[in-house]
Amino acid sequence: MTISTLTRGGAQREQQHCLRKMERVIIAMQDPDIGLKMRNQRLLITVIPHAMTGNDIMEWLIQKYNITDEEAGHLGGLLVQYGYIYPLKEPRSLILRSDDSPYRFQTPYFWTSSRWPASELDYAIYLAKKNIRKQGELVDYEKQNYNLLHKRINHTWDFVVMQAREQIRASKQRRKADRIVLECQEQAYWLVNKPCPGAFDVFDLGPERCNVLNSRVILNSSLLFFLLRISSVPNNSLSSHFLLSLSCVCSFMKFCDQYHQHDPIMSGCLPSNPWISDDTTHWTINTDLVGTPTRLRVERWSFSFMELLNDCLGRREFMTYLEKEFSGENLCFWEACEDLRHGESSKIILKVEEVYKTFLSPGAARWVNIDSKTMERTLEGIKQPHRFVMDDAQMHIYFLMKKDSYPRYLKSDLYKNMLSKAIVPQETKKSVFPFMRRQRHSSPSPAMVSQATEDNGKAKGAGPAATNSGTLS
C-alpha cells in the first residue's frame, strides 16, 4: 500500500473541510464592514496597497472569536502557514509576527484549495523565471528541483524558458508596486506548495482513508436499523421520556461530583502529584497490595461493587469477609468465570471442566447456589463448552454478591476498621528551593516482576487455579 500525497482521497477530504473553514475566516477578515482595515504599507521605498500589520490580524482575531493573544497568534500563524496570508518582509519565513510587519491576503487564484495539486509545468516556469532574472537567486533545494524538472520534462524545456521570458517581459511593464505584489503572491504560493525539505508541509497528510463499501448494503441496513429502533421502543409517554432524559443527565453530574475528590487533575493528590514534584510517594502508598491503604482508596470501594472488585486490595478484603460468612465460593466462582472468559482459547475445555468439578457438580467442594433454571441451562451448555458458557451463572452470582453481600460488607466492622485505619497523607509543602530538582528514581519494570514471580511459581509448582499473570507490586 502506498502513501500518496498527490491523489485525492479521505485525508484530502478532511483537509478540504479545514481549508474551507479557513477561507471563511479569511473572507470575514476582508469584509468591508466587519473586516480588517487595510491600508498602504511601506516596504523599503515602495508603497504596497491593501496590506495590514501582524498586529491588526491579531487584534481582529481576538475581537471576533473572543480569545487570548496566544490563541489568536496561533490561529493567525496557521493562516500564514497554509498560505492564506503572506508576509511582505522576509517572505520565506511563514510566521505571524504580532508587530507592525506588513502582511497581505493571498489572492484566491493562489489559494491552497484551488490550485491543487501544483502543476509541474508551472513550477518549472517559476524556477526558470527566478533563474533568468537573477543568477544564483535559487536556494539549494530549489536548484535541485530545477535540475530534476529539467531532466524530467526536458522535451518541453524550450516552452518553459519561452514562457518564463515572456512573463518577465510582461512584468517589467507593470508598476513597481504591482510587480512586487505579484512576485510576493507567487513566491508565497510556491513556498507553501513546494516547501523546503524539513519545513512544514501542508500536504503531508498520512495514509489514505475512506474506502467506502457497497452503498446498497449501507442503505438497507441503516434504514432498517433505524426503523427497528423506533419500533422496539416501549410505550413511553411524554413525561416518562422526559424523566428518563433528566435522570440520565443528572447521573453525570452525580458521578462527577462523587469522584471529584478522587480526580488528581481536579483536586490534586496527596502528598503530591509525582509528575509535578518528582516525588513518587503517592504511588508507593497506593501500590496494589500495600499494607495500609489510603482513606480515599477505601472510600472508593463504597462507590460501586465494581470499584471494590477492581481494586486487588478491596477484592481481598471482600473475600475475607465472604469467607467469614461462608460464601467465599461465590467470589471464587466469579473469578474462575472471568478467567475462562478472558483466557486462552486452548484452555477453555479444561477450565470449564474445572469449574464444573469445583463449583457446580452435585456435592462439589465449593458448590455455588444458583437457581435451578440457570443451573439447568448451564449444565446443558457445558456439554459443548465455549468461552461464554458460564455467563448466565456468573451474572447470577455477581448480582447476588452485589445486592446482598456487598451492602452488608460496607456496614461490617471489617470495612469500618479498614476505613478508620486508612491513612491520610500530609500534603507536601512546596519546596523551599524550587529550582532544586529531585532525583527521579526508576521503578522495576512489570515485565521483570512477572518473570520473577513466574520463576518462583515454577520452583514451587503452579497450582490448579492459577492467577492471571503479573499482579504488580
Partner: protein
C-alpha cells in the same frame, strides 16, 4: 423515542415491510430503486426528528447550570519524551501508571518509563505508519500494527541481548491498515479495528479470530472497551461518521449514533460507562448518552477549525481533553460544555492523547516527533 400510535402510523407507510435483522443484508427489491429508498429513508428520518423535537429533551448544559464552575486551570508539560525520529502516531499507558508505549511513522515502537524519560525497549516493525499500539494489562507485552494490516504482539524481555523482534507473534490479519488495537481484560485477547471497515476480536495464543464485527460503511478509525460490570461491549468510530456500540459476544451492533459531520477519529467511554465522547474531523467533540440513546453535548468553538484527533476523560469525567490537528489541546468542561483551557506546546498535529490509569496526568503524542506528559 416515539409512542406506539405514532410508530404505527409511520410504519404503515411501509406496510409490507416486516422488520427482521436478516433484512439488513437482503438485496434491494426489483421495484425499489436506490434513490427511492434513500428518499424514503430521509423522509422517515425527518419525521422522526420532528417527533423527537416535540419531546423537549433535556440538555446537559442546562441542568449543569447549577454546578460550580471550574476555577483557573493550569496544566504544564512535565516531561518531554524525545527519541522518535518521525511522527508519533499512537500511545498507550501501562497499568503501572508511569510506563508508556508509543509508535511512529518510521516503524519504531518504543517503551518508555515516562517518569524518568528513559527508553526501556525499542522495536522496529517491518512496516511504516504504525498507527496502533497497546500495552498488555500485565505490563509484559505490547501490541502494535499499521500498514502491514496486522496486529503483532511482542513480549517484553529484559535481556538486553535479546532481540524483541524474534519473539514477535502475529495475531490479527485484516485486509487493510490497522487503525487501533486494545487488549481486553487479559493478555490473551485483542480487539482490533481496521481500514477494511471491520473490527475483530482475536485469541492471542493461537491467532484465531473469535468474533468479527461488521456494520461500518467505511474505515473504522478507533475503538474503546466498556468499563461496565458485565464487560461485554465496546464502541467504534469510523469514516462513515458513525459511532457504533457492539456486543462482543454476538458480534451485533446494538446502538449507533450518526451526528458528526465528518470522520470520527477517536471514541472514549465516560468513566461510568453510561456515555462516551467522540472527536471528529468536523472540529467538534460530542458526548453521547447510551441509556437515553442520543447526543447530549457538543464541544466546539468557532475559532477551532481543525479536527480533533484524540480524546480522553479525566478520572471523574468532569474534564474532556482533546488533541487537535492544529497542534493544540483543548480542555472542555464536560457538564457545562465550555472550554476551560487551551494548551500549546506541540509543533505539529497532536495524534494521540491518553489520561494515565490513576488520572494524575495525561500524555500527548504528536507529529512533531515528541510525546509530552502534562499535569
Amino acid at each position: 423515542c416515539v409512542g406506539p400510535i405514532r410508530t404505527a402510523s409511520l410504519l404503515s407507510q411501509r406496510e409490507h415491510l416486516s422488520l427482521t435483522p436478516e433484512m439488513a443484508t437482503q438485496e434491494v427489491q426489483p421495484n425499489e430503486t436506490l434513490s427511492n429508498l434513500k428518499a424514503e429513508s430521509d423522509t422517515l428520518k425527518t419525521k422522526l426528528e420532528d417527533e423527537r423535537a416535540k419531546l423537549h429533551d433535556v440538555e446537559l448544559h442546562q441542568v449543569a447550570e447549577k454546578v460550580d464552575g471550574l476555577g483557573q486551570f493550569i496544566m504544564k508539560t512535565r516531561r518531554t519524551l524525545k527519541g522518535h525520529g518521525n511522527k508519533v502516531l499512537c500511545m498507550d499507558w501501562c497499568k503501572d501508571k508511569r510506563r508508556i508505549v508509543s509508535s511512529s511513522q518510521d516503524g519504531k515502537v518504543i517503551v518508555w518509563d515516562a517518569f524518568t524519560t528513559n527508553k526501556e525497549h525499542a522495536v522496529t516493525m517491518p512496516c511504516t505508519w504504525v498507527m496502533a499500539c497497546a500495552y498488555a494489562p500485565s505490563g509484559c507485552a505490547v501490541a502494535c500494527g499499521g500498514l502491514d494490516n496486522k496486529c503483532s504482539v511482542y513480549p517484553l524481555s529484559l535481556d538486553k541481548n535479546e532481540n524483541l523482534a524474534a519473539k514477535k507473534k502475529s495475531v490479527a490479519m485484516h485486509t487493510n491498515y490497522l487503525s487501533a488495537c486494545s487488549f481486553t481484560n487479559s493478555d490473551m485477547q485483542i480487539l482490533t479495528s481496521s481500514g477494511d471497515g471491520t473490527c475483530a476480536l482475536w485469541d492471542v495464543e493461537s491467532g484465531q479470530l473469535l468474533q468479527s464485527f461488521h456494520g461500518h460503511a467505511a474505515d473504522v478509525l478507533c475503538l474503546d472497551l466498556a468499563p461496565s460490570e458485565t464487560g461485554n461491549t465496546f464502541i467504534s468510530g469510523g469514516c462513515d461518521k458513525k459511532a457504533n456500540v457492539w456486543d462482543m459476544r454476538s458480534g451485533q451492533c446494538i446502538q449507533s449514533f450518526e451526528t458528526h459531520e465528518s470522520d470520527i477519529n477517536s471514541v472514549r467511554y465516560y468513566p461510568s460507562g453510561d456515555a462516551f465522547a467522540s472527536g471528529s474531523d468536523d472540529a467538534t467533540c460530542r458526548l453521547y448518552d447510551l441509556r437515553a440513546d442520543r447526543e447530549v453535548a457538543i464541544y466546539s468553538k468557532e475559532s477551532i477549525i481543525f479536527g480533533a484527533s484524540s480524546v480522553d476523560f479525566s478520572l471523574s469525567g468532569r474534564l474532556l481533553f482533546g488533541g487537535y490537528n492544529d497542534y493544540t489541546i483543548n480542555v472542555w468542561d464536560v457538564l457545562k460544555g465550555t472550554r476551560v483551557s487551551i494548551l500549546f506546546g506541540h509543533e505539529n498535529r497532536v495524534s494521540a492523547l491518553r489520561v494515565s490509569p490513576d488520572g494524575t496526568a495525561f500524555c500527548s503524542g504528536s507529529w512533531d516527533h515528541t510525546l509530552r506528559v502534562w499535569a
